[in-house]
Symmetry: C2
Subunit: 343 residues, 2 copies
């Protein structure tokens, strides 16, 4: 009689600005919602255990929670190189080890991005045929979520890297609702003659790839949902993400100021509140929490460091979706096919 | 007895998506507001004249309007190289000629950006000491307008070019209210070790320049108003601008959808309308219309091609402010000083 292991996520319980205080409640809520998932919490026993025991949900999901001790912590400011060298028993590293050993299908951490990337590359290694890892996440668009990569793993990219990002992104975005995602290359004009030499060459390579390549897209196409996947180098992707965060923040501040200007505007604000709240929920960035570290021989998901429990639950959901849709296996297959074609 | 010429702007009356139908009314309104400016309208006599004569304002400003005929038009899609070769009597080119000859202090065009840049470089030539022109404009921030450059003139930049952009941007942003603008270099982290080799070297160069260099900034710092001037290459700048346009558009669409959902939400929208309109006016992108082509031996201002009369008037105001603050003379001085220091 064979025993099938549940889909298991290793969760770095100590990562992020708030550590277990956010991670543990998020995990408990998530497990209560999805009965086919198990979680291994990685970190210091005492704070994790006290949070588990204090929760009314714990009793009903305890058979699907394991605790794996790790004695060290990686701080948010720590140098990736030093943490790799000196923190061999950190919650971040041990979570990745569990993916490496096969004890977990994926790991999720809200910890230091640089350390997570460096450690994941060191422990898991790159997938053969992929030279650079990429960070990918979804951003909102008028037509639903759009995948964007790379968001900052690579400050310089060769055309071949952008091609690999396009292939990985296409696989990541594939779902029953979107069986053939369209892929766009972020550029400063739609015409093929636009952009620098790297972009022009990447565009040629993407045109020959086994994906639905749309061609060049511009910054506004992200939010128009012109394509399902937007490919760019990590410098540009990071600037896109931060610029968008900044603009959304500024608009939010300004709208708040206008509604707080006087008694009458506050009254108008109270009347409009249900509508404004609905709008707010629709664009709530916490729903988009969760980024993939792609190109490694294992699945690693990064949560925003400042995530609250609601946002962290979305990162867990993101991770589970990646495992269920076999992103890793399908990337491996695609890379293998390309190598077979080339040889 | 010497006669002082009024500050004179050469205006490409045929440029943009709407041509004279937008440009002529905007010029008339602008002249009615500022009695110390004269405008030379450049283009086809007949459409310009009939619009002038049809306006009730024309009589009161006619002594400050001249018409300079130009027989050709450059379309918005035309190749910059071909227009430079074949359109020697275009309204775009003749407007720039008027700056070259000294008949105008600045020219304003809503025409084809590539053709405007190529023609301006050809006719006016680069300023000695500046290798690349840059496109600069203001973007809104929570603390007021922020200058950003380059927005698309250069898809690849060497560190020296970014340094020159920093110096030009600092001069452009200088005003009585902001005598010593702070300058930031757009990067993917605040720390000096972040970014690619070009950015790191540019940061070192900017640190030694005679400007108030703040250091690295990130995308969200634009909207936080962390610095007065943000420097980046034209690829990144263009993506920032287009991404921001896209996000603002999407949020506007979503808020409209939410208020249109039902009778009750429409009612709430009516109550909130004055507040929402005030917010809308505050973030109205038309107020930010007008971009400088910097580094040339003459002032050229680009208006958005789709500008309406309100937006085009802002481009005229932007141009007049540049002339009055002697941007050209001050850039020349700064470049001269650096050359003297170097020799």
């Amino acid at each position: 009689m064979s025993v099938t292991r549940l889909l298991t996520i290793a969760v770095d319980a100590m990562g992020g600005d708030h550590g277990p205080a956010v991670v543990v409640p998020a995990v408990l809520d998530f497990l209560a919602q999805d009965p086919e998932v198990a979680v291994t919490l990685v970190g210091l026993r005492s704070p994790i255990e006290s949070l588990l025991l204090a929760s009314p949900i714990y009793g009903s999901v305890r058979t699907r929670i394991a605790l794996h001790e790790a004695s060290q912590l990686v701080s948010m400011e720590e140098s990736p190189v030093l943490s790799l060298k000196n923190k061999k028993d950190s919650s971040l590293r041990v979570s990745i080890n569990l993916v490496k050993s096969g004890a977990a299908d994926c790991c999720v951490s809200a910890g230091n991005t640089g350390a997570l990337m460096a450690t994941a590359r060191f422990v898991l290694k790159m997938m053969p045929g992929i030279e650079r890892p990429a960070i990918a996440t979804t951003m909102p668009s008028i037509r639903g979520p759009v995948y964007v990569l790379d968001l900052g793993a690579n400050v310089d990219c060769a055309p071949e890297h952008l091609l690999q990002f396009g292939i990985m992104g296409s696989i990541l975005a594939t779902s029953p609702e979107c069986p053939q995602p369209s892929v766009g290359l972020l550029n400063i004009g739609h015409e093929a003659i636009k952009g620098n030499e790297i972009i022009k060459r990447a565009s040629e390579l993407l045109r020959t790839a086994p994906i639905r390549f749309h061609g060049n897209v511009e910054g506004d196409d992200i939010y128009k949902g012109t394509v399902d996947v937007v490919v760019c180098d990590g410098f540009v992707g990071n600037v896109v993400l931060k610029t968008s965060e900044g603009l959304a923040w500024m608009l939010g501040q300004m709208i708040r100021t206008e509604f707080n200007r006087s008694f009458w505007t506050r009254l108008a604000g109270a009347v409009a509140l249900p509508v404004l709240n609905r709008f707010k929920r629709r664009v709530d960035h916490r729903q988009y929490n969760g980024a993939s570290l792609l190109g490694l021989r294992g699945l690693v998901v990064k949560s925003h460091g400042g995530a609250d429990a609601y946002a962290f639950r979305h990162a867990l959901l993101y991770a589970v979706t990646e495992v269920r849709s076999n992103v890793l296996g399908r990337i491996q297959e695609a890379v293998q096919e390309r190598e077979n074609l080339a040889s």
